[in-house]
């Protein structure tokens, strides 16, 4: 189960999307999210679905890997879908369960919401799957650099994000090991009521906190040894090349986004 969590993971392979400029991909992800919250007709959903499918296909990230990443959030999707299914008021009642009416509108809405969450996760995790944490934070730093003039400490912020991304897999591995160690000592995480289960988390969370602090401490020392200073101007070894292809991809996306917003407003 722990290994199913793919959020923030980088899938190392070569593809058109892997080679894209990180800034393009970040902007792409933002516009993609905007699009997801703007669309509402079935045709629009279909278009975005096809679009996402093509993106995943061209990223060379296996569909199986992608689906495995969806497993942990399936609960959220199902709960959202059920809530929408049973609570939406509508004209055409399909059937009744107890006091709750299931309407056609509710059914449509619940499918839409479920699809929206799934697409949101797939689309955005594509960003981290195809961009290594260093490149991602580099791109983010360039994109956010205008804020520097307003006195926002961008480089610190970006460093924080890249460290967080870097440590997700490490912490997952650590969690897995601690769960196993405590299971071997007879800890039971699966049975009992909610209170008992929450209490059962203590032997996992405390070692996890302790090791996170230890890691943070060691990392801070290592960074200081290499003269890390958050006030200084840092230059980058990498140059991000914004090619024509990136520009076209971005323009296409912005146009798509604009068209969809216009359609939405006109409707």
């Amino acid at each position: 189960m722990i290994r199913d969590i793919t959020i923030g993971q980088y899938y190392s392979t070569d593809s058109v999307i892997h080679r894209m400029d990180p800034r393009t991909k970040i902007l792409w992800a933002i516009f993609y999210m905007v699009i997801l919250f703007v669309i509402d007709s079935a045709a629009m959903y279909f278009a975005v679905l096809v679009f996402t499918f093509v993106m995943v296909y061209s990223s060379h990230v296996p569909f199986k890997f992608m689906l495995r990443g969806l497993k942990p959030i399936m609960i959220i999707v199902v709960i959202t879908a059920l809530l929408n299914l049973f609570t939406t008021q509508g004209e055409t009642v399909l059937f009744t369960v107890g006091k709750l009416n299931v309407t056609l509108e509710g059914l449509v809405l619940s499918v839409k919401m479920a699809l929206r969450i799934v697409l949101l996760i797939v689309g955005t995790s594509l960003l981290t799957l195809t961009t290594s944490p260093t490149v991602l934070s580099g791109g983010l730093e360039v994109l956010l650099s205008p804020l520097k003039k307003m006195g926002v400490p961008i480089s610190v912020f970006v460093m924080m994000i890249s460290i967080a991304l870097r440590f997700i897999p490490t912490l997952l591995e650590e969690t897995d090991k601690i769960i196993k160690a405590q299971t071997s000592r007879g800890a039971d995480f699966e049975n009992g009521n909610i209170l008992k289960r929450v209490k059962a988390m203590v032997p996992i969370l405390i070692p996890l906190f302790v090791s996170s602090f230890r890691r943070a401490d060691e990392l801070a020392t290592a960074m200081e040894c290499r003269c890390y200073n958050c006030d200084g101007e840092r230059t980058s070894y990498r140059r991000y090349r914004f090619t024509k292809n990136d520009l076209y991809a971005l323009i296409a996306l912005i146009v798509l986004c604009a068209v969809l917003i216009v359609i939405k407003v006109v409707q």
């Binding site: 601690i178 196993k180 160690a181 405590q182 071997s184 070692p207 302790v210």
Partner: protein, 286 residues
């Protein structure tokens, strides 16, 4: 004597689609008796840790048969539960799993989970602390205040407190100074002798294994390469090298002495044996 735990044709794959690159174990079979001291050796990625986790009932094998006390348990879930009750595992850097406020409470975690009475828990804690070399004066201290070696002993005591019939240790000496390491290995012997616990020591240090294990299982790329006494294992230096392992340094010295014309036999693997044989050969008094 019969095997308390035996596995036959064990295979394990990290993904469900059985791709060759995700396969950690292929067709591994072995068993062990109560009170044995077994070493599992192999280079990084040879499947040592996977075997350990399966034996401890923490991973479900993809294929294979599991026998406990001579009886096959076909349902893997059932087998895992039965294994967990019998086998204790000390992971690498076990001190990272400490969590309680006091050393006493941390050691008591295992017996408490077993649902034992207060007196029973107290007995388990004191006994395992003694076995692992944790002094009672540390009982009220916070486990986070201790030194590295002490923390590790507390963590090992915590596993021993569940009174396992089989104790698996994954590189228990990693990161310890030579003195603490020596002490730890000696304590393992004591546990084996006094409690008749089966000890399975996983290590890539052939020195440690040759000195302590009665039998060594060598794994290579997820396949069982050899399962024999240390003497037999180390007699095939070349084959061992192909598995990415070295014979103990002292055996290398002996083999060099032999090839240099000093015939002292080739079945010497510990410092003491070498010392005795060489002094005898040279006629030097002790």
């Amino acid at each position: 004597m019969s095997n308390i735990i035996e596995v036959k044709n064990l295979s394990y794959s990290y993904s469900a689609d059985n791709l060759a690159k995700d396969t950690a174990l292929v067709n591994v079979s072995f068993g062990f008796e109560q009170g044995e001291f077994i070493g599992i050796a192999g280079h990084t990625g040879s499947g040592k840790s996977t075997v350990a986790q399966i034996l401890a009932g923490l991973l479900t094998p993809s294929e294979g048969r599991i026998f406990i006390d001579g009886e096959e348990i076909e349902d893997y879930k059932e087998a895992c539960r039965a294994l967990r009750r019998r086998v204790g595992i000390v992971f690498q850097y076990p001190e990272h799993q400490l969590f309680e406020e006091t050393v006493y409470k941390d050691i008591a975690f295992g017996p408490k989970n077993k649902g034992l009475s207060e007196e029973e828990i107290d007995r388990c804690v004191r006994k395992s602390a003694l076995l692992a070399g944790v002094g009672e004066e540390l009982f009220e201290a916070s486990p986070f205040e201790l030194s590295g070696g002490q923390k590790r002993r507390v963590a090992i005591a915590g596993v021993l407190a569940t009174e396992p019939k089989v104790l698996i240790l994954d590189e228990p000496a990693a990161g310890l100074d030579p003195k603490s390491k020596h002490r730890l290995l000696k304590e393992l012997h004591k546990i084996q002798k006094e409690e008749n616990t089966t000890i399975i020591l996983i290590s890539h240090s052939m020195e440690d294994l040759s000195e302590h294990a009665q039998r060594i299982i060598v794994l290579n790329h997820g396949v069982k390469f050899k399962d024999a006494s240390p003497k037999e294992i180390f007699s095939s230096q070349k084959a061992l090298k192909e598995c990415g392992l070295e014979i103990p340094e002292i055996a290398q010295v002996v083999s060099l002495l032999n090839s240099g014309g000093m015939n002292i036999g080739s079945d010497i693997f510990t410092l003491k044996e070498a010392y005795d044989t060489i002094t005898q050969k040279l006629g030097v008094g002790k």
